[in-house]
């Protein structure tokens, strides 16, 4: 099907007519279905390098299909599904299963991430090559949820994936420094009597890993950077030419540890919400490019896993459907920045060639999303497409509405609703 996006603003530029035909941006074609896009901004389809889809294993919290729908509604055309499923995505079989489920849902490209170690146990390297050679064509490997803490194993993993241009995405958390940790270590944790997760536990691992990556000449990606100190480590490493990329989550760009005051576990997340000065440093780092991408760390959890004591609750929060509004509320309509940090750079890191393309060029795969920046919306957990309800933004008024999303020229979202 062909579409004409009439009067659309590509990345905030003057209104124009944009044609989509045969899955790509095209020259004008007759009989295109007209979408009145006046006032709408076109962005390359968003790409999330860090999503938890929970399938297989916790289909009561999310499935590949429901997560894909949430992603499309959030403006995404590709998501990278983390490996901490049950069973763990540490074999070609599991990553192919997730990949196939993504294709069947057909709402976004679901790119599986493979585990670095068998069972995420941090002991023995998983068959990374088999996952890379599988139908899922895995390029990002991560034990996310756990840190690859063993320095020798981390070194070997960084080296090994060079054979197929892979990248290790590290969940940077020195486990001995975070035993029993419940929230950011600081004034609030002291007041609340919750065991602290010190910033240094993240910074120490990032410092170690950039040195390891430098030593072996490999690519490193750092998941969910959360502290000002981590930003400084990354800034120095990048200045030296280390091949490191980093992500920040929307929640770490907006929320602080003071949210824990009422002990509502919807605000429990790993790494934890930090302080105002960390938030400021992360924002600046994203502007500077020290942090390359915004990644959601979308982490659905069933009601019973959050409706309990803080210490017993699982860490994590929803993110796919609110990421763009949060980024818009933090940075304003900086469309080039948003396109780079939420689509172009993540597509490059994940090696997703069809995504993050130039919408002004004919022939670019038509992976894009249309945003109405003039709309302010109140986040209502009941309206979310995700099975889970653990959004920390309930009741918040956020700017921007995703009006339509296209995956290879096919609409996945129209008029703000998923087409399937």
């Amino acid at each position: 099907m062909a579409y004409l996006l009439k009067g659309v603003s590509i990345l905030g530029a003057a209104p124009t007519d944009l044609y989509i035909n045969d899955g790509v941006i095209s020259a004008p074609v007759p009989d295109a279905e007209v979408i009145d896009a006046a006032g709408l901004v076109a962005l390359p389809g968003l790409v999330d390098v860090h999503t938890h889809l929970r399938e297989p294993g916790r289909e009561d919290a999310e499935t590949v299909e429901t997560g894909s729908r949430a992603a499309a509604l959030g403006g995404y055309t590709a998501v990278c599904a983390m490996a901490n499923t049950s069973p763990v995505a540490d074999t070609a079989g599991v990553v192919e299963q997730v990949w196939r489920l993504g294709r069947e849902a057909g709402l976004v490209d679901v790119q599986p991430i493979g585990a670095v170690t068998v069972g995420l146990a941090g002991k023995q390297m998983a068959e990374l090559g088999a996952m890379a050679s599988s139908a899922a064509d895995v390029r990002i490997f991560s034990d996310d949820g756990f840190c690859v803490a063993d320095p020798k194993l981390m070194r070997r993993a960084l080296e090994y994936v060079k054979a197929f241009d892979g990248v290790i995405a590290q969940h940077a958390e020195e486990p001995r420094l975070t035993e029993g940790a419940q929230m950011h270590e600081g004034e609030v944790s002291t007041r609340l009597g919750l065991t602290g997760w010190p910033a240094v536990a993240e910074e120490a691992i990032i410092a170690r890993d950039v040195l390891l990556a430098e030593h072996v000449g490999s690519r490193l990606h750092v998941c969910h950077v959360s502290t000002a100190g981590s930003v400084e480590v990354l800034r120095q490493a990048k200045a030296r030419g280390v091949r490191v990329t980093a992500e920040v989550t929307p929640h770490h760009l907006l929320l602080t540890d003071e949210r824990a005051e009422g002990y509502d576990p919807v605000f429990k997340v790993n790494p934890p919400l930090r302080t105002r000065s960390d938030v400021e440093a992360l924002r600046q780092a994203l502007l500077d490019g020290v942090i390359d991408v915004v990644a959601t760390d979308h982490a659905p959890h069933a009601v019973q896993d959050k409706e309990c004591e803080w210490s017993y609750a699982r860490p994590g929060m929803l993110g796919l459907e609110t990421a763009l509004p949060i980024v818009l509320s933090v940075f304003g309509p900086k469309w080039d920045l948003i396109a780079d940090r939420m689509s172009i750079a993540p597509a490059r890191i994940a090696g997703l060639d069809g995504h993050g393309g130039d919408l002004t060029k004919a022939g670019t795969p038509a992976n894009l999303t249309l945003v109405d920046p003039s709309v302010q919306r109140v986040v209502d957990p009941a309206e979310l497409a995700s099975i889970s309800r653990n959004t920390p933004y309930a009741g918040m008024t956020l700017p921007g509405r995703i009006v339509a999303t296209f995956l290879r020229g096919e609409a996945t979202v129209l008029d703000g609703k998923a087409v399937k």
Binding site: G186, E187, G193, L194, T195, Y263, W310, Y312
Partner: protein, 306 residues
């Protein structure tokens, strides 16, 4: 009056003083032959204990019974996530039974805050994890006031494992609200760096017990668990005892009028020498007796007893 007592921070100076004054009236009652008041007749108080704590539970139980309330003891030890019912479901059960107040002891910090979302009655924190134990702080303040006649300007040293102590947190909050000067003493591993900013700006920190004692009106020794040793908070029980234990030579450094407190249960010979615990300066047994009066006052005021 406040509805819940989840934290000592729920209490402003006027409310805290009202509780202490009411506790004094309740204490006068205990000298009488008939110790019961009809104030909470027909009201139901549930003691919901997820941790063993015989002394705190019987203290609350005695308090509620002396006010003629119906008392239900609900021991939920070992319950919660891994087996049995969730806190929410337990709360809904208590709610359906018409609990007017739930006294909760729980190993998870913040459990009373969560509970208050699910019950209509008053929630009283009887110790939650490493967070707070506000009625302990009230009975400590009551004990200080009855021994020394005042709280305003009183110099109080709290010694030991402040990091993991719910007693310390509640005491810092309550005592500074009531005008006392608090100094926290212990090894740096057991005193949070930002404790003053977190709890009360006027709080001081010292790592040297000997220098603090001569200028203290009250020294409160916290229980130190020997397992902390395994986790490298300090090298050995003996070293801890040598540096931060209150023994007879140290006690002699205190001013004549100063008192020695301990929330119990004590590790005799660890943080406190037996001769000190049993000395006339020690208020340890009084603290237990005062606990009942203070908890009576809390239940009476929270439940609007007449």
């Amino acid at each position: 009056m406040i509805k819940h007592l989840r934290s000592a921070a729920d209490l402003d100076a006027a409310t805290a003083t009202l509780i202490l004054d009411t506790a004094a009236e309740m204490a006068a009652l205990s000298g009488r032959e008939v110790k019961k008041l009809p104030a909470l007749r027909g009201r139901t108080v549930v003691n919901l204990f997820y941790e063993d704590s015989t002394r705190t539970r019987i203290s609350f139980e005695a308090a509620a019974k002396r006010l003629s309330a119906d008392v239900i003891n609900f021991s939920a030890k070992g319950s919660s996530v891994s087996k049995g019912e969730s806190l929410k479901d337990t709360a809904l059960t208590l709610q359906a039974m018409g609990a007017d107040a739930v006294v909760i002891r729980h190993s998870a910090s913040g459990a009373p805050h969560r509970l208050a979302n699910w019950v209509d009655g008053s929630v009283v924190n009887a110790g939650d994890g490493t967070h707070e134990h506000p009625t302990q702080a009230l009975l400590d303040a009551y004990t200080m006031r009855s021994r020394l006649g005042r709280l305003d300007g009183l110099k109080v040293a709290i010694v030991g494992d402040v990091l993991h102590s719910r007693v310390a947190r509640s005491n810092v909050l309550l005592l500074t609200t009531l005008g006392a000067d608090v100094t926290l003493v212990g090894p740096p591993t057991l005193i949070p760096l930002d404790v003053a900013a977190a709890l009360s700006k006027s709080t001081k920190v010292s790592y040297d017990l000997d220098s603090v004692l001569p200028d203290s009106d009250v020294v409160m020794m916290l229980r130190v668990q020997t397992e902390r040793m395994q986790d490298s908070y300090f090298p050995s029980a003996r070293e801890y005892s040598r540096r931060y234990g209150l023994d007879m030579p140290r006690m002699r450094k205190l001013p004549e009028h100063a008192v020695v407190m301990h929330p119990g249960p004590m590790n005799r010979g660890m943080e406190i020498a037996p001769e000190v615990a049993d000395s006339p300066r020690s208020t340890i047994v009084e603290q237990v007796a005062n606990g009942v009066s203070v908890r009576m006052a809390v239940l009476y005021l929270l439940l609007g007893g007449k």
